[in-house]
Symmetry: C2
Subunit: 572 residues, 2 copies
């Protein structure tokens, strides 16, 4: 491709409204342009990258036995009524009407449509398992689209749906997809982790997220420094290695703490370590409970994990914290002075709290705390559960190594759905014994367009994008210096362009009438892995310069040897 | 691909609501399934064909200098207000609101979005010409979606938009696109014609449609039997080779025609040839005219061309015929007795009417006609224009040969748009002299999904689809007879499957436990060009059967020679 016939559209300045580096670089490198909030046009370079992601995803899905279909963007509302999501799905579901005032939706996902298809087309267990996928345009009406295509409203997704006679068969395909996803992200050259994930509102029994590791990620991932274990922090189990509390050494005493509202205040004013204090958090009880509230205890240096907490029996889901007024009315004290002693409500203690001794907590009287508290002696040990977030340095729940915590960008998600949709929509087949059986389903998504942004978050430097080879919009950029003045430079550039494209190498030939400095800057911004620079001076010795975008390595190469030099340098 | 892992979904019966053959066969062969009116899911075989069309379109667009982008489906309404189409575009434009009640549309086409992009990204004549295209999902809310994907609501389209400094440059790209379109449809193996077309509501100065010839086509195309000339019947010029009327031989006389309301009645009751009669059609005059109506005269054996008629000065557009009541009130006679003599309104005569002599027409008195009418002698010659449809056998307007008329399916359309959108949206660049200049535009569409249906309309027989090689979902189908009973058959089939796929041939391996008859029927329905049948009997002699779907040719081929036999048979 010649830049003169291309839409290069690089920007010198960073657009003011682009917060994250991938958004900034995608705008500056001319990969996308905003049409409206959360709606982006893919410019030629961006689209080339998107297509490369698609191609790898397609190849690996096919290899793993997936069969590609294409379902409509616009879906009839009645299917969503049948699944129950017409009610349950929030305003991210864009509901529209056609010219006859019939209700439709813009598909944010396709469980309903694919279940409708399969219940009509598949009637016997002999046709199972079946794994249908598509690479297609989705629309989710995000309340606050941001970070460019990272959280846009219209985006490209690979969504796959598998159908099975039983859980065992589902688990086989699930494992198959797990491995396919690992191959995909590996081939794309990304540093990623599959992590154990929460199944959330989509339902189902098991789930993994695939995260590209990057500082700007929205999710915290905990992983072992000695094994493959990795989990979304929401899901990582906090292990307590201490088996029981130490023997008490102090008496329980009340003391005045008029100016201490927080764990930090106690540490500062009374030299009480955060790890010797307890945080007492009051949340609403489940509707069926005889109590209104539940108290949750975590160590002063730990954080409550809300996902774990809302799964506790007797606790309302989603988790709702009691207001200051409600706490005052129920306990007679304000949040800064709460504690488990003489607290008249169900109490759940984190595992690490249950092994504390001689600890400190609020006295349930404003301005007063208790210290030297000990379980069993001063109060009964409450119900114990894992309700805290893991921290870096915690032992890994897999039993090997310690946990490290990094930020990740979710680019894939696989679910064992079970029969949530097949049951609601009566999708069954005749089983081996001739009995009608509801199918078991899995679903497997990859945010194809988000992968592009995530790859940039992970691969950039102060000069621009540094594409992994598999994703680069071009493999080679050809920069002839002052070719419009030098016939020799022009001739050599044209010849190299021809020779490289002839062997199937994707070349961007910068044939603009621009100063070399402008060309270098643009091409480094776009981040093509291999650069060839052609200048008058080298031509005297029949050499041109090769430059590697990633390590900055520069070498002079004989013109005749350049094609094989590039071929040797290509890793994909 | 093994059928056991595939979604074959063939149907024995023709679905009742499928009217045209392509719709019937696409359903029966398991290519698409209806989700809702005008909304179809592409099943695996259908999608494979769709992707082949896409690939050829993409290759030829790239070769012709097109640069691929991807614009959103959802478009902000304000751009449509700017172009004026928010008002002008009918209910086919699906207007939606997002969660914040902001108005958007589902893009039926992308002139507005691409013009918005280019006016922001392109500032200098040096960046022109630019030809941007995409292959993307469109939505048009057809009032009566029909014929399956032939006239669906959601469909895949290749739309290209070119930007130029002047008309001359536009014409060059237009010609370039014309040639690219010819290459595309030729490579797809289709019998097609580029035809001169009406620019219609999209505006612009020149336009060609590309039609796949098929009896079920919705359009009539006139083309010369001696040259490349072809035009949509709406646009084909009707030539009159007779220079002037013959000398009158009869006197004008009135006669009673109480039971003659039509040209056919006159012929039957009075032996007056249709070619000696005149049809007088009354249409509404343009608002600016001092008259309310205009009379249009065509020969009794000709048909009015409404597109030509509505372009006449003084005639209302779109064309509106006067009602019987309006005609009675204005002329005092009913439609069956109208004629040009003593008619007090502007009259436009077709060219062929202007050279008639001794002709017959209504007397503008119910139950009476006049015969022996002659121009100049009995009434002045009115304004003469080409207002009729051409007929088979008419001289071609190109001057060579006669016209033939066939039906066609429009699969492509190219337009010289001029400045309709760039003017309305102020899309300009700095010209060579430093002056700001509005750009000139072209646009070029291909109905990618419709091509699939059109190809089937043109290529089928009583057993099913007969795919052109370039479009077939698979190149070869492998039918092992009773492989589940014969180890030899299974082994040979597996080996051939492996060998064929190893050299890149796309094979559908029918490994179902089905009777051979069922397999043959399904595979002929799907229409794969080359079939290999493996049976016990042949294996005794180390041969298998090759069968050609198109000509039914069958030959026995040595197992070892089959891969090269297939390679030789492939034309793509």
């Amino acid at each position: 491709m010649r830049t003169s016939q291309y839409l290069l559209s690089t920007l010198k300045e960073t657009p003011a409204d682009a917060e994250v580096i991938s958004h900034q670089l995608m705008l500056r490198a001319g990969m996308v342009r905003k049409l409206a909030s959360g709606l982006y046009t893919w410019l030629p370079s961006g689209l080339r990258v998107l297509r490369k992601v698609e191609a790898v995803v397609r190849e690996e899905m096919n290899r793993a036995g997936g069969v590609e279909v294409l379902m409509p963007v616009v879906q009839p509302a009645d299917l969503w009524e049948e699944s129950g999501r017409w009610e349950d799905y929030g305003p991210e579901l864009c509901r529209i009407q056609d010219r006859h005032s019939r209700p439709f939706v813009l598909g944010p996902t396709h469980e309903e449509v694919v279940t409708e298809l399969v219940r009509k087309e598949v009637s016997s267990y002999k046709q199972l398992p079946l794994n249908l996928y598509q690479i297609q345009t989705k629309f989710r009406d995000e309340i606050r689209p941001r970070f460019g295509i990272m959280r846009g409203r219209e985006f490209t997704m690979k969504d796959a749906y598998s159908f099975h006679l039983n859980q065992e068969c589902l688990e086989k395909t699930y494992q198959n997809m797990f491995e396919a996803y690992c191959r995909i992200f590996k081939r794309l050259g990304l540093d990623f982790r599959p992590v154990i994930a929460d199944t959330g509102s989509i339902g189902g029994s098991a789930s993994h997220e695939f995260h590209v590791l990057a500082e700007s990620g929205e999710d915290d991932i905990a992983f072992s420094d000695r094994s493959d274990y990795a989990a979304n922090i929401e899901m990582a189990e906090a292990i307590c290695t201490q088996e029981s509390a130490n023997t008490p050494t102090e008496a329980m005493t009340e003391f005045d703490t008029p100016n201490a509202q927080t764990i930090a205040d106690l540490a500062e004013q009374f030299s009480i370590a955060a790890s010797s204090s307890i945080k007492t958090l009051i949340v609403k009880a489940d509707e069926d409970s005889e109590h209104n509230f539940v108290a949750l205890l975590v160590r002063g240096d730990h954080e409550l994990n809300e996902i774990k907490a809302e799964k506790l029996d007797g606790v309302a889901a989603p988790l709702q914290f009691a207001s200051d007024e409600e706490i005052k009315a129920e306990i007679g004290a304000t949040p800064g002075s709460l504690g488990p002693v003489n607290l008249n409500m169900p109490i759940v203690s984190d595992r690490s709290v249950a092994v504390m001794s001689d600890f400190c907590a609020g006295a349930n009287v404003d301005g007063k705390h208790l210290k030297g508290i000990n379980w069993e002696r001063d109060l009964p040990l409450p119900h114990v559960a894992d309700i805290r977030n893991v921290q870096a340095g915690d032992p890994s729940p897999c039993g090997q190594g310690k946990l490290d915590i990094k930020r990740g960008i979710e680019v894939g998600h696989i679910f064992q759905l079970g029969d949530k949709y097949s049951q609601a929509m009566s999708a069954g087949v005749l089983g081996e014994t001739g009995k009608h059986q509801i199918m078991t389903m899995g679903c497997y998504g990859i945010g194809v367009s988000r992968v592009v942004a995530a790859a940039i978050e992970q691969n950039n430097d102060e000069r621009g994008i540094v594409w992994p080879e598999a994703l680069a919009p071009f493999q080679v950029v050809l920069i002839p210096m002052n070719m419009h003045k030098s016939h020799r430079v022009a001739e050599t550039a044209e010849k190299l362009y021809e020779d490289l494209t002839a062997v199937g190498i994707e070349v961007l030939f910068d044939d603009r009438k621009e100063r070399p400095g402008v060309m270098f800057k643009d091409m480094e911004l776009i981040g093509v892995p291999h650069t060839i620079v052609i200048g008058e001076r080298g031509l005297d010795n029949q050499v041109v310069e090769y430059k590697n975008r990633k390590d900055g390595e520069k070498v002079e190469v004989a013109i005749d040897a350049m094609v094989s030099h590039i071929q040797a340098a290509l890793t994909v």
